[in-house]
Each structure stands twice: as C-alpha cells, then as structure tokens.
C-alpha cells in the first residue's frame, strides 16, 4: 500500500479510537458528579445555587479531557499535517 493510503487509513482509525476511548472516562466521571450533585441538592435544597454553579464548573473541567480528544480526532480527520505533507510532496 502506498504512503497516502496508509496515512489515511491509520488517521481515520486513530481518530475513531481517540474519541471512542477518550469519551469513556469523562462520561463515567460526569455521571458520577451529576448523581452526587443531585443527591446533595435533594438533601440541601437551600444550597442548590452553589451546588449548581460548582457542578457546572466541575463538569467543564471533567469534560475538557473529552474535548481534547475531540480536537485531536478533528485535527486527524480534517487538518492532518502528515496527509498534507505527503500530498504536497506528491504534487511537487
């Protein structure tokens, strides 16, 4: 197989694996965080405001790992530097 096909194949597969595995951890973590926050809110409805704000900030923190994975997979799919390099080399 030529370089271009190989790079394309590996990039697509890696992008899928990246977002697939990368979203497992944050999903579990976020589920746990929301469950805990709901329990806390059920116990202390007066503190709902503070809990919600902390929950949002925490979720954003947890989510960022998934977002990193997403950005990496998007770069692999749409702005792949290796692909561009090989195409450029083949063109010149």
């Amino acid at each position: 197989m030529d370089n271009l096909g190989l790079i394309g194949m590996i990039s697509v597969a890696t992008a899928g694996i990246t977002i697939g595995i990368g979203s497992i951890g944050p999903a579990l973590g976020e589920g746990r965080a929301v469950a805990q926050a709901l329990a806390a809110m059920a116990q202390q409805p007066d503190e709902a405001n503070t809990i919600t704000r902390t929950l949002f900030v925490g979720l954003a923190m947890v989510e960022s790992t998934a977002i990193y994975c997403f950005v990496v997979s998007m770069i692999l799919l749409f702005a792949n530097p290796f692909w561009d390099y090989v195409v450029q080399k083949a063109g010149s």
């Binding site: 949002f56 900030v57 954003a60 960022s64 977002i67 990193y68 950005v71 998007m74 749409f78």
Partner: protein, 249 residues
C-alpha cells in the same frame, strides 16, 4: 445551503478564510466577525445607556441591561466573597463577548469568532495576564510572588506549570466546544439536511451560553484565588493578634 455557509465542511478554523489581503496584512473571517461582535456590543450598550431613567418606567433595553449587569454582579460577589466592582469590567466583558458571539450562530452564515483557536487563545492569555494584575493590585508584588513558593519551594515549577496548563485548558475548551457545534451542524447538513441540524443548532446555542458562563466563572475563580487567600491570612493574623491581646489583657 452552501451559499450561506462561509466555511466548508473541511475547514476546521475560520482563520483560513481570508477576505482581503494586502502584502502581509490579512483580514480573515475571525477578525471580521470579532469586529462585528465588538461593534454590536458597543452599539447596544451605547443605545441602551443613551437615555438612562431612574423612575418607575424603564425602557426595555435599560431593563434588560440592568438585569444582565445585576446577575453578573451577584455571581461575581458569590465567587469573590467581596465587592464585585473591580472584577466586573474584565469578567463581564469576557462573558458578554463570548456569549454574544456564540448566540449569534442562530443567524445563518455567522461564523462564531470563538470557534477559532486564535480568539480563544487571546482570551485565555488575557486571563493569564489578568490574574497576576489583580493579585498584585490587592496584595503587592512580593506577597503575590510568594504565592508561587507555597506551600514550599519545591512546588514552584508545579505552580507555574499549573498556571500555564489551565490557560491552555481554558483556550482549548472553548474552542473545542464551539468548533464541535459548527462542525456537527455542517456534517449533519450533508447527511440529514431537514430537521436534525436545527436540533443540534439549538443544543449548540445552549452549549455556547454554558461555555461563556464557564469561561467567565473560571476566570473569576482564578482571580479570586489569587486575591482571596490574602484576606484569609489577614483574618487569621487578626484573630491571632486578638487572641494574643486577650491573653495579655
């Protein structure tokens, strides 16, 4: 549909879309849409505050702006545990800029400037610079720099690394969220162009507002952590002094 979308399905960043260039000066989509957002914010604020009233009857826009500013003030007060006035201009502008640029995605053809890594990196750098500025303002240069060697000198590289990595996280989080919104809309337009893009667009509006809120809250939390610990130490010192005074007396 293609005529409405400035960005193709392959473009990951609006930086690549260049409207006009002369020698080394390039005006790309990010800059143009940032200017439009800035212009709209300034125009809106100017129009709303042109004739301020203080009676019972308020104009709609003044009412709206008062609600927005009041909410921001109360949120900042909750986080900073103090007077929100010094933080409101910085954190409030961050929030309003990001919120408006995300909100305007309901207009077809709008390219959100926050969907470009350059914009979000610039905003995150503002926070990176803003934190020490507020910290030094409230506690002086020596005291603020002393924060970096707490709890011990070994933590100095960790503290600096933490500062840099949270800036990176701030930039990539906003960029990733907004970019994923526009990207998903573009991909769905190619697959199922009837209803689903609207649903995802609505979800994107929600994420956009939440991200604007989170960006502002995180910036405020970072600033508060640079400013506040000082107060706690002061309080502790005061209490200790009081206790000592009691012992002596």
């Amino acid at each position: 549909m293609e005529s409405l979308d400035l960005m193709g399905i392959k473009d990951i960043s609006p930086d690549a879309l260049i409207f006009w260039h002369w020698q080394w000066v390039k005006i790309n989509a990010t800059i143009v849409f940032t200017w439009i957002t800035m212009f709209l914010l300034t125009l809106g604020a100017w129009l709303a505050t042109r004739r301020l009233q203080s009676g019972r009857e308020l104009s709609r826009w003044q009412n709206f702006l008062e609600v927005v500013v009041q909410t921001m003030r109360s949120q900042i007060r909750d986080i900073a545990h103090g007077d929100p006035a010094p933080f409101l201009p910085f954190v409030g502008s961050l929030f309003l800029f990001i919120a408006l640029s995300n909100l305007l995605t309901i207009i077809p053809g709008w390219v959100p400037p926050t969907g470009s890594l350059s914009t979000t990196a610039a905003l995150a750098l503002c926070v990176l610079v803003g934190v020490p500025v507020y910290g030094i303002q409230s506690r002086g240069v020596k005291n603020y720099l002393g924060l970096y060697v707490k709890p011990s000198f070994i933590m100095l590289p960790m503290n600096i690394l933490g500062e840099l990595s949270r800036t990176l996280a701030l930039a990539v989080r906003l960029f990733g969220n907004i970019m994923s919104g526009t990207k998903i809309a573009a991909i769905l337009l190619a697959i199922t162009p009837i209803i689903f893009p609207v649903v995802m667009q609505a979800l994107g509006l929600l994420t956009g507002m939440i991200q604007a809120y989170i960006f502002a809250v995180l910036a405020m939390v970072y600033i508060a952590s640079a400013v506040r610990i000082q107060k706690q130490y002061e309080q502790k010192a005061q209490e200790e002094a009081l206790a000592k005074g009691d012992d002596n007396g």
